[in-house]
């Protein structure tokens, strides 16, 4: 790493999280630390149940850690009010859930516009144009006005990805974004996200079970039983030397 790096987009240190009540209480995260620098793509890999989603919920400010700290764009989030947390989620974070979560009564474009409406910085036509642009980028240009319940699982997932990008967030947290997709769509989404991140100084944290994809990331964090036990550069990352 060069000494002149700009400040990281997201830092977490010593994150711990317990889930469940009393006897079924589980120590899901046992001290996770990560730093996401702008322009880099990070992959988190690990067996099912190791705590990847739990980590992403914490980083996405949807859950509160039992210990540890999170800093987004140099702001420690522990002290933020609900109002500020919401604003941060809306403006700076793009969250792609493991299970595509769309609003059922809304069309694809309307789903993508929901975060933009909350931000309220653009005019209706601009929002609409951006929604169409993003849906086109994920390969759904023809299904912009389709009600989301009439979309297939993979299509819904791609709408969710377009929606996560709606407000042009600095940090994108993606929980298996390509889990339901065929190879070509999977490729399209991965290159869309990585290009976006590399060209716009964003940060991407990607959970994946696909080693093919993981090795093309700048960093791969291997996780097990609630800890990251190894962080290494991706084997086929653009900048890495061929092994």
């Amino acid at each position: 790493m060069t000494p002149h790096l700009p400040p990281p987009c997201l830092i977490c240190e010593g994150l711990e999280r317990y889930l469940g009540e009393e006897e079924s209480r589980v120590h899901v995260l046992r001290g996770v630390s990560l730093t996401l620098e702008p322009g880099l793509v990070h992959a988190v890999v690990g067996p099912s149940g190791c705590g990847k989603s739990t980590l992403l919920y914490l980083l996405g400010l949807l859950d509160h850690p039992d210990a540890g700290s999170i800093t987004i764009d140099e702001v420690p989030v522990a002290s933020l009010s609900d109002e500020d947390l919401s604003a941060t989620r809306n403006e700076r974070l793009g969250f792609i859930f493991q299970f595509h979560f769309l609003l059922q009564d809304f069309t694809a474009a309307e789903n993508v516009m929901i975060p933009m409406r909350r931000l309220g910085r653009a005019r209706m036509e601009e929002m609409r144009a951006r929604a169409e642009f993003l849906l086109d980028a994920v390969g759904l240009g023809a299904k912009v006005d389709r009600p989301s319940r009439h979309l297939s699982g993979g299509e819904q997932q791609r709408v969710a990805i377009a929606r996560a990008l709606a407000n042009d967030p600095r940090v994108i947290l993606a929980d298996e974004p390509t889990g339901n997709l065929d190879t070509s769509n999977s490729e399209r989404i991965f290159s869309l996200l990585t290009t976006l991140v590399r060209e716009n100084e964003k940060a991407l944290l990607l959970v994946t079970h696909n080693p093919e994809i993981a090795e093309r990331c700048d960093w791969v964090h291997e996780m097990k039983d609630g800890v990251i036990f190894e962080s290494r550069p991706g084997l086929r990352a653009p900048g890495s030397a061929p092994s």
């Binding site: 949807l62 109002e83 604003a87 941060t88 609003l103 059922q104 929606r163 407000n167």
Partner: protein, 415 residues
């Protein structure tokens, strides 16, 4: 641009059209019934007040009094007819110089008309039967300007009444009892003697107790018949603003040293009855609106449970707790707005239909149809009650929606 929360609220409403329309129907009915019942009770009350004002006047000036300075002296005075212990006054029956008081009273800007009346109880007989007659001697020159007598004439004519010493106007129910019609003769027996009168007109005030006993003759004739020359029992005043009658009465009482009573004071009992009726009808109907509120509470609580997932998604996309509450409060606001709008429409329709219902009221007042009052305040109050009920019913589901921790739902679903 419409607020995003309103936008989402309308979409949520559309997705639960049926149950929300059903619960809105409750609001519509509640507001409609409220308006309709208020229109009726208020209608009858106004009708009654109108009759009172048109018949006995807004302010009635009667007996002269003298403040009693020494409490126990002079009690044997023959002039004294009544004394009120509280006010310590000595009353003298009637008004000795009515026209002078009338002149002064008319100088008040609120006074539209003033008329002298002499009263006495006599007996009246037709060829069929005899009855008690509460006789009023009136000065037609002033009387029509101070009362609604002209509008109350239902048959015959009062033109030239002042020039006919033997003319009598009878209450229509009294005429009924005596079985006399316009043009018939009746005999009136007073302490000073008996006289024959010709019925020239029948009147209907709408208040039965008056219409059963009332008869009008000329003031001068009445004075001699009752043996009270050149005096009057009362002066009746018609006011521009009857609502201010109590103040004027109090003022005139001090000014004239005569008892002066406003219609509000005289009819206190009946007015209390009407307002009790209005309140009880209002309470009954407010209960309907309350019930509608419960319905809305149920529907919205169910909506919140059904939309837990979307709430969590919205939260994850940066919607604040307050935004989530707002989405549900908007729904309540929309229901309340349309509910009270349609409710006002229904209320107007019901009020109109009710006013067409023929009835045969012969109790305190006389009416052939339901009397209704068209009053914008009924619509405002009805809508206000609906808004309060709906917003209270919405508040708790909205509150609950805001406190849903998003991660529990996101983690829970799909796994």
């Amino acid at each position: 641009m419409i607020p995003p929360t309103l936008y989402i609220a309308t979409r949520f409403i559309v997705s639960r059209k049926r149950s929300l329309i059903l619960s809105m129907l409750g609001v519509v009915c509640g507001v409609g019934f409220f308006i309709c019942t208020q229109a009726q009770t208020q209608g009858f009350e106004k009708y009654f007040i109108q009759s009172v004002l048109g018949t006995s006047g807004a302010v009635v000036i009667s007996d002269r009094f003298q403040p009693r300075y020494t409490q126990f002296s002079g009690t044997s005075s023959a002039d004294m007819v009544a004394s009120s212990g509280q006010n310590a006054r000595k009353y003298y029956e009637g008004i000795t110089d009515p026209y002078r008081l009338m002149r002064v009273a008319r100088s008040f800007s609120n006074v539209l008309g003033a008329a002298p009346i002499i009263r006495g109880s006599v007996s009246i007989a037709s060829s069929f039967q005899s009855e008690v007659l509460r006789l009023e001697g009136i000065d037609m020159r002033y009387h029509l300007g101070a009362t609604a007598l002209r509008e109350q004439i239902i048959s015959g004519s009062i033109d030239g009444f002042g020039a006919q010493p033997s003319a009598i106007i009878l209450g229509w129910m009294l005429a009924d009892k005596l079985q006399v019609r316009v043009g018939d003769n009746v005999t009136v027996t007073a302490p000073t003697g008996t006289r024959t009168f010709k019925v020239v007109a029948l009147s209907r005030s709408g208040i039965n107790i008056i219409d059963e006993t009332r008869g009008y003759i000329n003031l001068g004739v009445a004075q001699s018949l009752l043996g009270k020359p050149s005096s009057a029992s009362v002066i009746t005043l018609r006011l521009r603003d009857p609502g201010r009658a109590p103040e004027l009465a109090a003022h005139l009482e001090r000014l004239f040293s005569h008892r002066a009573r406003s219609w509000q004071e005289r009819e206190r009992g009946n007015l209390a009855l009407f307002s009790t009726l209005k309140i009880s009808a209002g309470i009954t109907v407010s209960l309907i609106i309350l019930l509608a509120g419960f319905g809305i509470f149920n529907v919205l609580t169910l909506t919140v449970l059904e939309k837990l997932r979307e709430i969590a998604i919205l939260r994850s996309m940066g919607y604040r707790r307050w935004d989530i509450s707002a989405i549900f409060l908007w729904q309540g606001l929309i229901i309340a707005t349309f509910g009270s709008l349609f409710g006002c429409g229904l209320g107007a329709l019901l009020t109109f239909l009710v006013s067409l219902i023929p009835i045969n009221l012969r109790g305190v007042i006389f009416a052939t149809h339901f009397v209704v009052d068209w009053n914008v305040y009924h619509y405002l109050y009805g809508s206000a009650i609906a808004f309060v009920a709906v917003l209270v019913a919405t508040f708790f589901p909205a509150q609950r929606a805001a406190t849903v921790p998003p991660v529990d739902i996101l983690r829970g679903s799909g796994q």
